[in-house]
Symmetry: C2
Subunit: 196 residues, 2 copies
């Protein structure tokens, strides 16, 4: 067997185990399981990490360097206005951001041609942000990110978003969260159809 | 000369002409000119499109389908509170979003190895969103997108962001706009150093 072939098999096996462990321990986003499970059964594809989307309150320092950022609250589900309101009022750091983050998936495959196929699938269902990020002996890893997001500062010092408007924003976060789930369903269907 | 080689030369020449025409007509983002000009002089790289970042008010219908979206106002510079305020109050469509959009660059090259080099440069300067999006005979096109963005709904029906908070948000948009420019400078320096 070729060296590349062996390396790929090892990588795929490693990620299969990681996925199954995460699933067993309840650490997997339920909505991503059908897609990941399907790819586990293929011979030339695997998934290395994924998040089905979330709504979060993220605290940053004034310089807003990533290093200093920390989840103040996060939800892998739709949120209630009261949850967000409480999260904001209990924040005592420097700058607080409200984020509705879309799905993110790292999908690995054996060949460049397979990667092209995945990019075409993403384009077909309207996922614009899909590209090859890692190229190493025996593997190509694509990063696929959903289109829908909200990203806004909500609290800094004495400044804070007001209640009525926040109610509206929470509604929009939930709307986008749902849209994102629909995209993930479409992606799962299309991958099951085209990738064996 | 190989067929691939000929195709690449033609593509590179085409994009060089498009770039020079845009520059002459004042349609190029000034901040992107040094980087694009440098790549024009190389033999294995070109740029096919770019935007150095902008702040915009985008109108959408309630379903928020991309098809129906339209720039209500846009600025390729920092904005004044009054400009945004006027933009919001004059909007009569369904949903209005305020967006601070980061740099976006489509960079083409001849080989997969060159693409890997570009991704490594992006990683080095902290640009996480860089990947190969197009692979066709004779060319690889990478999409590079900045990290900094703001994306928030500001007006829908009777709901509208209030003035004090909007003032703060405008300040944050401008801060992020500046950060984005710094990233573009870093990218230009690093590409000039590593890509000949």
């Amino acid at each position: 067997m070729e060296k590349k072939e062996t390396i790929f098999k090892m990588i795929k096996e490693h990620h299969k185990k990681t996925f199954e462990k995460a699933k067993k321990e309840g650490k997997m986003d339920l909505d991503f399981i059908p897609l990941c499970e399907h790819l586990t059964k293929t011979t030339e594809y695997f998934t290395s990490s994924c998040c089905a989307g979330r709504i979060a309150l993220v605290g940053l320092n004034k310089k807003e360097t990533k290093k200093e950022s920390a989840f103040h609250r996060k939800w892998h589900k739709k949120v209630k206005f009261e949850e967000i309101k409480k999260g904001i009022s209990s924040f005592e750091g420097e700058v607080l951001w409200l984020k509705q983050e879309p799905l993110i998936l790292h999908l690995g495959t054996k060949t460049l041609n397979n990667s092209i196929k995945i990019i075409a699938i993403c384009e077909k269902i309207g996922l614009k942000r899909a590209g090859i990020k890692v190229i190493k002996e025996g593997k190509y890893i694509l990063e696929i990110i959903g289109n829908h997001n909200i990203n806004m500062p909500v609290k800094e010092g004495k400044i804070s978003i007001n209640e009525n408007y926040l109610k509206y924003v929470v509604k929009k976060c939930n709307q986008k969260f749902d849209k994102n789930k629909k995209t993930l369903k479409k992606l799962t269907i299309e991958i099951k159809k085209q990738i064996k």
